[in-house]
């Protein structure tokens, strides 16, 4: 097995163009498991760890966070909880401290596991994946990124350079069900983000379909509900019945399976509960901050 260690981003792209089958390695928390369990024997590894910029982030003028692909979860938790509250909540649930020190959002996207914890918050906040190759740079909307179980929209010669995530303009939440209180793969997960300026609500479902996905019908329902009742303006209480209906629609958007981690019926049920609760938390936060600002 070849071990390729480019020192710069340009070099990395050149190497990847030459060896499209080379497997990029960032934190290695997925790659090394695959190697150790003999699930995958790539002919070459492309080590991205010498490329410093992948471990950094910048804030653009429009407040979008350009998050380097290799920034570990622990950094997101420590440095970006205010701008990226949903992703930070998701990051807190990833593995153990050791995994959070190494694992990255770029790696989560590269693996594109339906159970990845970064995906629902990225969907809910409307992120964009910056993919690059010697041919040029593409900005892939997160909604178009996940193609199938562990399949994503990257071309063989492409690498993820950064993830562009709008800074939160309203409350965001993430909740994940696992059968123990830490270090657990999601049985199912859910993220919701309020975008008060756009009067929008976005969602993300994890581990309950072949890919992470949004609950479009639920989003449309709550958007309409908030508009029709004037709640964005009044900042009034969200009726429990509305939150419940939202939960039901989220559950309906999922396409879960029965497996050793949980039954399809449980996943739907849990999604409905999490969606109802997290919507109420975000709405109540929104009201509280609105009042505080007023």
């Amino acid at each position: 097995m070849e071990f390729l260690r480019p020192a710069t981003w340009e070099e990395a792209l050149a190497v990847k163009a030459q060896h499209p089958s080379a497997v990029p390695i960032a934190g290695g928390t997925d790659v090394m498991v695959d190697l150790n369990f003999d699930r995958h024997r790539p002919d070459a590894l492309l080590d991205l760890n010498r490329i410093h910029e992948l471990h950094t982030w910048q804030i653009a003028d429009d407040d979008t966070v350009r998050l380097g692909a290799s920034v570990p979860y622990s950094k997101i938790i420590d440095a970006l909880p205010d701008r990226l509250p949903g992703l930070a909540l998701g990051a807190r649930t990833v593995g153990s401290p050791q995994i959070r020190n190494r694992g990255s959002v770029g790696g989560n996207l590269g693996g594109a596991s339906p159970a990845g914890d970064a995906h629902p918050p990225l969907l809910a906040s409307g992120a964009t994946v910056e993919a690059a190759s010697v041919r040029g740079t593409r900005l892939i909307p997160i909604d178009d990124f996940y193609l199938g179980v562990k399949r994503n929209a990257l071309e063989p010669d492409e690498l993820i350079r950064a993830i562009h995530i709008p800074s939160a303009t309203g409350p965001q939440q993430f909740a994940k069900v696992g059968t123990r209180n830490a270090m657990v793969i999601a049985v199912c997960s859910f993220a919701v983000a309020l975008h008060p300026r756009a009067r929008d609500v976005r969602t993300g479902i994890g581990s309950a379909a072949p890919t992470p996905r949004r609950a479009s019908e639920a989003e449309a329902f709550i958007r309409a509900e908030l508009d029709d009742t004037g709640l964005w303006t009044s900042a009034g209480e969200l009726p429990l019945s509305t939150a419940k209906r939202f939960g039901e629609l989220v559950a309906r958007a999922a396409a879960p399976i029965d497996d050793v981690r949980g039954s399809a019926a449980y996943r739907r049920h849990a999604l409905a509960v999490m969606a109802r609760r997290t919507l109420l938390w975000t709405w109540n936060d929104h009201r509280a901050t609105g009042r505080a600002a007023a």
Binding site: L89, K176, R180, A182, V260, Y266
Partner: protein
């Protein structure tokens, strides 16, 4: 009478020496393990060594039509590819029944059964060679525990001519116990209420962290030296010799660093494979399982189905119990017979019940073989009978702890086996103690800044901020035997040597006891310090150059090998003191009345009469003894009567849980325990055992299960076989009682297993209290709590 010659340089001894019995010296391996510096068996290394690996069956039950190893053999770097045809001696092994092929012969009986072994110059070479072996199978429908009971229809796991299975169909072993008038119509008529329940326990794994591993080194005399992580060196050897065709003196075992055991190393795993490959190639061979192979490479806890009926009077006196238990033994016998004996004899719990009819049976199936695991047959039963006690209390409108205390056994009680309990049995007292401990704070997750999710079900997964969270409290108590039962000749050997090195008395302890993490070597040093009054105690490596120490299982090692060390130290002391007769002219009676402490010989009154160094002189004292507990007897086949167990041990738990009843997620808030240990030889280690056992019981209550469908293991990894993390582990206050058992060394009582029993039912009782659900199966899954 005073000494005739007063020896020189005597100072009085104030303290009897540091770190003796009752103190808590730290274990020597603790810091090394925490820092990652401990050398485990998987770290063994030898120049020129080869790596061994096994090809395992992907099917639960299949005929092997052909095995083609030619491509594997042709691969460069491969030194040996062996099938059962290459075995020089017997092709079978087994702890109680020799029914397990070393390598499959013409058929496979469980998913993961080894068929071919390979030795190569690198693990990767071995892995590639394994991938090139072609096995043709004729896959057959697997036999589960239900099918096993109808062999006419579904067939036999072992052909009717094999082993002893032919006489009983698929039944490995069964034990009936008939006590009083059983569950006769007359007896039933005495009960005002009868509660019937069916219960199920899933397949738990020992999940020790150090996978199976060892190094076999061929010796010049044609023998083999094996460095191995195991629970019982001598019984490994006993099973290996016939296979290797070697006499015991040519098969020498030395214990390597063991990363946990919990029963999972009682059967052999890679021992014979490594030795066969070493024999064949003439080179050292190392085998290390990875985590997945480990799940296939050792036995698990027997899954159980249990039907209980309890009858009681209105005022809460138990009248009768009837229990029918089926244990899934899997493809090979392992320790199933002894597990059945325990399930039957301990199956009604620590209660006095005048009439009992208990039937326990283990069946052969095409599921993974099951055998020893911490609690050994008593764990499953405890979940059954304790759930029954709660249901009976509810039926009678009584407090569940009160009902238990009313019916609790005590010293002098008669067990359903007819055995009279002749040592303290403080069952009611243990229950009283856990009940009276202060309860943890309610809604402890509330803070000024909002909910602290770490304190809530789901933890940092952030699934609730208090919604749906209901608290529940549950109690349970259990009974476990200590040591080997049913007439087994249970003994341990210890050698203790005392000599002067560099002007100080130094003791050496040599036993074959497997230190698997229980802290046995720490305890041995404490015992020697106490008996011989020395500071420095050295441990010789555990190996087969000294006699058997029995297994590190059945809560027995402190009692048994600890007892042997004590006995050997006493023998050494007797010789040492006898030297005082020659040196100082002590009369025999005077010498016999002396003790050793702080490097001196003292009278009973504490007067120093000699320095140990002077007494010893230049000649070491070296004594080896065998220690036996008092004999037990087999249970009668028909009635189950007999003095079957040597000692009983008891633990009670109170569990406090918060359940998110909507999501079905559980957080154990506190798990309090009270246990009688007779005498805490090392109080810190005792509490550690109680914490560890309680946590393993927590795992069984809410998460740990090997999921098997049609004989196939679905979750052989730590990704999907979940064990509790520290965030799942609650505060565990422990109350330790020390009521001496006069039959045991220092009055001690084995401590390692009892806490594993009652922890599970106490937690499930607490979840029931929070949810109102019946919950007749463990582990409890979110699906059970949400009806999905």
């Amino acid at each position: 009478m005073a000494a005739l010659t007063k020896p020189k340089n005597l100072q009085d001894v104030a303290a009897p020496g540091r770190d003796g019995v009752g103190a808590s010296p730290l274990r020597p391996d603790g810091i090394l393990k925490v820092k990652g510096d401990f050398a485990y068996s998987s770290d063994l290394w030898h120049e020129d060594m080869l790596w061994g690996m096994a090809l395992r069956s992907p099917h639960a039950r299949a005929r092997i039509l052909s095995v083609d190893v030619s491509a594997a053999l042709a691969q460069p770097g491969v030194y040996a590819v062996l099938t059962h045809e290459d075995i020089p001696g017997s092709k079978f092994y087994g702890l109680e029944i020799r029914d397990q092929p070393v390598l499959a012969i013409d058929e496979v009986r469980f998913h993961g059964e080894p068929i071919v072994i390979v030795a190569a110059d690198h693990p990767e070479t071995a892995r590639r060679a394994i991938a090139k072996i072609v096995v043709e199978y004729d896959v057959l429908p697997s036999i589960g525990p239900v099918e096993a009971l109808d062999p006419e229809r579904y067939g036999y796991v072992h052909a009717p001519a094999d082993y002893k299975a032919h006489a009983f169909g698929n039944i490995v072993h069964s034990q009936h116990i008939h006590h009083g008038d059983g569950d006769s119509a007359e007896v039933r008529a005495l009960a005002d209420v009868i509660v019937r329940g069916e219960y199920e326990v899933g397949m738990q794994d020992q999940a020790f962290l150090g996978p199976e591993s060892g190094l076999a080194v061929p010796a010049e005399d044609g023998g083999i030296d094996l460095y191995i992580a195991t629970q019982w060196l001598h019984v490994d050897r006993q099973q290996m010799c016939p296979v290797l065709g070697l006499p015991p003196e040519k098969v020498r075992l030395t214990l390597a660093g063991v990363g946990g055991a919990f029963g999972g190393r009682e059967d052999i795993s890679m021992q014979v494979h490594a030795c066969l490959l070493a024999q064949h190639t003439g080179k050292p061979v190392k085998i290390v399982y990875n985590r997945e192979e480990s799940f296939f490479g050792h036995v698990h806890r027997h899954p159980a189905t249990m039907v209980f009926e309890h009858g009681a009077t209105r005022d809460g006196r138990l009248v009768f119990v009837k229990a029918e238990i089926v244990l899934d033994g899997g493809a090979y016998a392992s320790t199933s017979p002894a597990v059945v004996g325990n399930a039957a004899s301990l199956g009604i719990g620590p209660y006095v019940i005048p009439h009992a009819a208990v039937d326990a049976t283990a069946v052969y199936t095409n599921n993974p073989p099951c055998g020893a695991m911490r609690g050994f047959g008593a764990v499953q039963m405890c979940f059954g009978y304790e759930t029954q006690m709660d249901r009976l209390a509810a039926e009678l409108g009584l407090d569940p702890v009160e009902l238990r205390r009313m019916n609790a056994m005590e010293q002098g009680s008669v067990l359903p086996t007819g055995q009279v309990v002749d040592a303290p049995a403080p069952v009611a007292e243990l229950l009283r103690r856990v009940k009276e401990m202060p309860l943890p704070e309610v809604e402890n997750w509330r803070t000024a800044d909002g909910p602290d999710v770490r304190e809530l079900p789901g933890g940092l997964s952030n699934t609730t901020h208090g919604e749906g969270v209901v608290r529940g409290i549950g109690y349970a108590v259990g009974i476990k035997n200590v040591g080997f039962s049913e007439g087994f000749d249970d003994y341990s050997t210890a050698r203790v040597r005392l000599e002067v090195i560099g002007g100080a008395p130094v003791a050496l302890v040599h036993t074959a006891m497997a230190e698997v993490g229980q802290g046995g070597i720490t305890v041995h040093a404490q015992i020697v310090r106490t008996e011989l009054g020395v500071d420095q105690v050295t441990m010789a490596p555990a190996d087969t150059r000294v006699g058997s120490a029995g297994s590190t299982s059945a809560s027995r090692q402190t009692y048994m090998t600890g007892g042997a060390v004590k006995q050997a130290a006493e023998a050494v002391r007797a010789v040492v003191l006898a030297r005082g007769r020659d040196r100082y002219g002590w009369a025999p009676a005077f010498a016999a009345g002396l003790r050793l402490a702080g490097g001196k010989a003292l009278t009973a009154a504490g007067e120093v009469v000699a320095d140990l160094v002077d007494l010893l002189g230049d000649e070491p004292v070296d004594e080896t003894t065998e220690f036996r507990h008092r004999p037990t007897e087999a249970f009668d086949k028909v009635t189950g009567q007999g003095f079957g167990h040597v000692q009983y041990t008891f633990c009670a738990h109170r569990a406090v849980v918060d359940v998110d009843v909507e999501l079905g997620l559980v957080k154990v808030i506190e798990l309090a325990a009270a246990q009688d240990v007779g005498k805490a030889i090392n109080p810190l280690a005792v509490v550690g055992q109680i914490h560890g056992g309680s946590t393993q019981g927590l795992g069984l209550a809410v998460m740990e299960e090997i999921i098997v469908r049609d004989g196939k293991v679905r979750n052989p990894s730590f990704t999907d076989y979940l064990i509790p993390t520290i965030l799942d582990t609650p505060p565990m206050p422990v109350d330790v009682l020390e009521l001496a058992d006069a039959h045991a060394p220092y009055g001690l009582r084995g401590a390692g297993e009892a806490p594993t029993l009652s922890s599970t039912p106490a937690i499930v009782a607490a979840i029931r209290a929070a949810t109102g659900l019946p919950l007749n199966r463990v582990p409890v899954r979110p699906e059970h709590l949400t009806g999905t």
